[in-house]
C-alpha cells in the first residue's frame, strides 16, 4: 500500500494545472496499491479549494496552517513540511517540478533523511518498492530509480502526467495541521517580484508553440514568430542561446533550465536542437523544424522538416495558415 502526499499549489480556490498533474500521478500510484492520496495546502483553509482537490484525486486535504506560510519563503516551506510529513504518514511525497520545488525538495529530503528523485516522468508501485523513471544525459537515456526506504520525495516533471479523471462525487476528509515556524528560520527575503508581460497565451499552457533559436540572429525576427503564433493562437518560445543573448526574456526559454512544454504542435525556427533544448520540448505531439542546415540535430526529432530560410518561409506560411484557419 502506497500512501502519497501531494504538496499542492492553488490560485484562490483553483488548484494549479501542475498540481492537477501531480495529483494524476499520485492517484494512479495509490490506486495501483490500494493506497490513499493526501494533499498538503500551505497557508490555511480556502473555501471551495478542498472540493476542487477532492475532484482532482485527493482523498484527504491537510491545511498546513501558519501565518508565515501565506506567501512563504522556501525556508518556511521546508520547516513546515519537515514537521508535517511524518504526521501525514505518507510513503511518497510529490511536488510539481517548479521553481519552488527546486529550492524546497532537496532541503526537505535532506531534513527527512529521505531519498529524492527530481523530474520524475513515470512512477509505479512494486512489491515493497516504488520505482521512478527520469531522463538523464539530457534526455538521451531514462534512469530507473528504486526506493525501498520511506519516505521518499519526488518532483514530478511538468506535462508528463495527465490529471486524474474527475472524482467530484467522491467525499473527502479535511484536517487542519498547525505547525510552528520560527521567523528566525526564514533567512531569505524577496524584496521585489518582476513578472514579464505575457502577450496572448501562456507558453506552458499553449497548444501551439513557435520557438526561435540562434538562427534568428537577433530580437527583431521574433516578430515573425509572433505573427505566426497569433494566427495559431499559440505562444512564442526561445532557446537558451536566444535568451542568453538577451534577445527575448528568460521566461520564454524552453529547455532543461527553462519551461517544459508538450503542445500539439511545436514549430522550431532556426533551432539547431541542442540536448538542453530537446529536454524541454521533446514530448510535443508534432514537431516541425525550419532550418537552413539540413544536418541540424533538430531534424532527428522533428516529424516534419523544412530546409529553408525562415525569413522567406514564414510570411507565406503564416498567410496560408491564416487562410486555412479562417475557412
Amino acid at each position: 500500500m502506497v500512501d502519497v502526499l501531494v504538496v499542492a499549489e492553488a490560485q484562490g480556490a483553483v488548484p494549479s494545472r501542475n498540481t492537477l498533474e501531480v495529483l494524476g500521478a499520485a492517484r494512479r500510484l495509490a490506486d495501483a496499491s490500494q493506497g490513499t492520496v493526501k494533499t498538503a495546502v500551505l497557508g490555511g483553509p480556502v473555501e471551495w479549494l478542498a472540493a476542487a482537490l477532492f475532484g482532482g484525486g485527493a482523498d484527504e486535504v491537510l491545511w498546513v496552517e501558519h501565518a508565515l506560510l501565506v506567501t512563504p519563503e522556501p525556508d518556511a516551506i521546508v520547516a513546515a513540511l519537515t514537521q508535517m510529513v511524518p504526521d501525514a504518514a505518507a510513503q511518497v511525497v510529490l511536488l510539481a517540478d517548479d521553481s519552488t520545488a527546486r529550492e524546497v525538495a532537496p532541503r526537505l529530503a535532506h531534513r527527512l533523511q529521505a531519498g529524492l528523485v527530481t523530474e520524475v516522468s513515470a512512477v509505479q508501485a512494486e512489491a515493497q518498492a516504488v520505482v521512478f523513471r527520469r531522463a538523464i544525459y539530457g534526455g538521451r537515456c531514462l534512469a530507473e530509480i528504486v526506493a525501498t526506504r520511506f519516505p521518499v520525495v519526488g518532483t514530478v516533471k511538468l506535462r508528463s502526467f495527465e490529471p486524474a479523471p474527475d472524482r467530484s462525487e467522491q467525499p473527502g476528509v479535511e484536517r487542519r495541521i498547525p505547525v510552528t515556524v520560527e521567523a528566525s528560520l526564514v533567512r531569505t527575503a524577496v524584496v521585489q517580484r518582476v513578472a514579464e508581460e505575457v502577450r496572448g497565451v501562456k507558453l506552458e499552457n499553449a497548444r501551439v508553440v513557435v520557438s526561435g533559436g540562434r538562427g534568428l540572429k537577433g530580437p527583431e525576427p521574433f516578430q515573425q514568430l509572433h505573427d505566426l503564433a497569433q494566427v495559431l493562437k499559440g505562444a512564442v518560445g526561445a532557446t537558451r542561446a536566444a535568451t542568453d543573448a538577451g534577445w527575448v526574456p528568460v521566461s520564454w526559454q524552453v529547455g532543461q533550465t527553462g519551461k517544459t512544454v508538450s503542445p500539439d504542435l511545436y514549430i522550431a525556427v532556426g533551432i539547431s536542437g541542442a540536448i538542453q533544448h530537446l529536454a524541454g520540448m521533446g514530448s510535443s505531439k508534432t514537431i516541425v523544424a525550419i532550418n537552413t542546415d539540413p544536418d541540424a540535430p533538430i531534424f532527428k526529432v522533428a516529424h516534419l522538416g523544412v530546409v529553408a530560410d525562415f525569413k522567406a518561409l514564414l510570411p507565406p506560411f503564416t498567410a496560408k495558415v491564416k487562410a486555412m484557419t479562417e475557412t
Binding site: C141, A143, I145, E196, A245, S251, L265, H303
Partner: protein, 266 residues
C-alpha cells in the same frame, strides 16, 4: 570576500547521438575518446565569481569532486583567473548520490576556510538532478538561492536575481550563502588567455581524499546512496523526419501547411 565555486567535469553533453555510448556494467556513459568539459552552468558560476572579485576583491577557489582527470577542469578554471583550486578524488567516493556529493563538497569548503559565497551551476549537463546547491546549503547550515543569474553584494548580504516561471524575484540573503547559477548575457564565460592556460597547467592542484576530510564513509559511494539505480536505458527517438520540399519557399510553405492539415494538426 572569499568565494568558492563548485565545478563538475563531464563528458561533452552536446556530442552527436551516434557517439553516445553506455557502459552496461557501470550504467554510466562511456567516455571513449570524447572530450571532457566543465559543465556549462558551472562555467557561468566561474565567470560570475570573477566579476564579483573584480568589484569587491577577495579570493576565489574552485573545488571539484571527480576522477583524477578532473584536475584538468580545476586547471582550466585557474586559467580563467580563479586564484586556487582543489580536487577531491578518491575511489571510495565513486557512485555517491547528490547527498554524498554535497557532503563531500561541504567538508572540502570547510577545509578551504571561511567562505562568504558558494556558487554552483544550477544543473549539471549529465545527470541533471538540480540538487547539489540546496543540499550543500543544508550541509553548511546556510541559506540557499537557486536559479540565480545575477548577484550583487552589499554590506555582507547578497541580492540575487532568482528566475521563476513568470519572471524573476530579487532575493536578499545574508552571507554566507549558496547560490546555484543560471546563464545570462552578463555571465558568459570569458576566454582564457594562452599564457594563463600555460601558467595554470604548470601549477599543482592539491588532491584531497575522503580521509583528509573526515568523511563518514557510510554516507558516500554506492553504499551511501539513498536510492538504488536499477538501470539506465537509452531512449529511442523517433527519427523519421519527413522533409517538405519545394522549388521556392512559398511552395514549401504551402506544402507544409497542407501536410499539417492532412495530419489534422491544423
Amino acid at each position: 570576500m572569499n568565494i568558492v565555486v563548485c565545478i563538475k567535469q563531464i563528458i561533452d553533453p552536446e556530442i552527436p547521438a551516434e557517439q553516445f555510448k553506455l557502459d552496461p556494467a557501470s550504467q554510466r556513459q562511456l567516455r571513449g575518446g570524447l572530450s571532457l568539459v566543465i559543465s556549462a552552468y558551472d562555467q557561468n558560476a566561474l565567470e560570475m565569481a570573477l566579476q564579483l572579485r573584480e568589484k569587491a576583491g577577495g579570493k576565489i577557489t574552485a573545488v571539484s569532486l571527480g576522477e583524477p582527470e578532473a584536475q584538468g577542469a580545476v586547471k582550466s578554471a585557474m586559467g580563467m583567473g580563479i586564484d586556487a583550486g582543489v580536487l577531491v578524488s578518491d575511489p571510495v567516493l565513486t557512485g555517491s548520490d547528490s547527498f554524498g556529493v554535497a557532503l563531500v563538497l561541504a567538508k572540502a569548503i570547510q577545509k578551504i576556510g571561511p567562505t562568504d559565497l558558494v556558487l554552483t551551476g544550477c544543473v549539471s549537463g549529465d545527470t541533471g538532478n538540480k540538487m547539489v546547491g540546496p543540499l550543500l546549503a543544508e550541509e553548511l547550515g546556510v541559506p540557499s538561492v537557486t536559479f540565480v543569474n545575477r548577484i550583487e553584494v552589499r554590506d555582507g548580504r547578497v541580492l540575487a536575481r532568482r528566475i521563476v516561471e513568470d519572471g524573476y524575484q530579487l532575493v536578499e540573503a545574508p552571507m554566507p550563502v549558496v547560490a546555484s547559477i543560471l546563464s545570462d548575457d552578463t555571465n558568459v564565460p570569458r576566454y582564457s588567455k594562452l599564457k594563463d592556460i600555460m601558467a595554470a597547467a604548470r601549477k599543482t592542484v592539491p588532491v584531497w581524499k575522503a580521509a583528509d576530510l573526515g568523511i563518514d564513509l557510510s554516507r558516500v559511494g554506492s553504499a551511501g546512496r539513498r536510492l538504488e539505480m536499477r538501470g539506465v536505458m537509452p531512449v529511442q527517438r523517433d527519427s523519421r523526419c519527413e522533409v517538405v520540399t519545394g522549388d521556392t519557399p512559398a511552395e514549401q510553405a504551402e506544402r507544409l501547411a497542407n501536410r499539417l492539415r492532412e495530419l489534422k494538426v491544423l
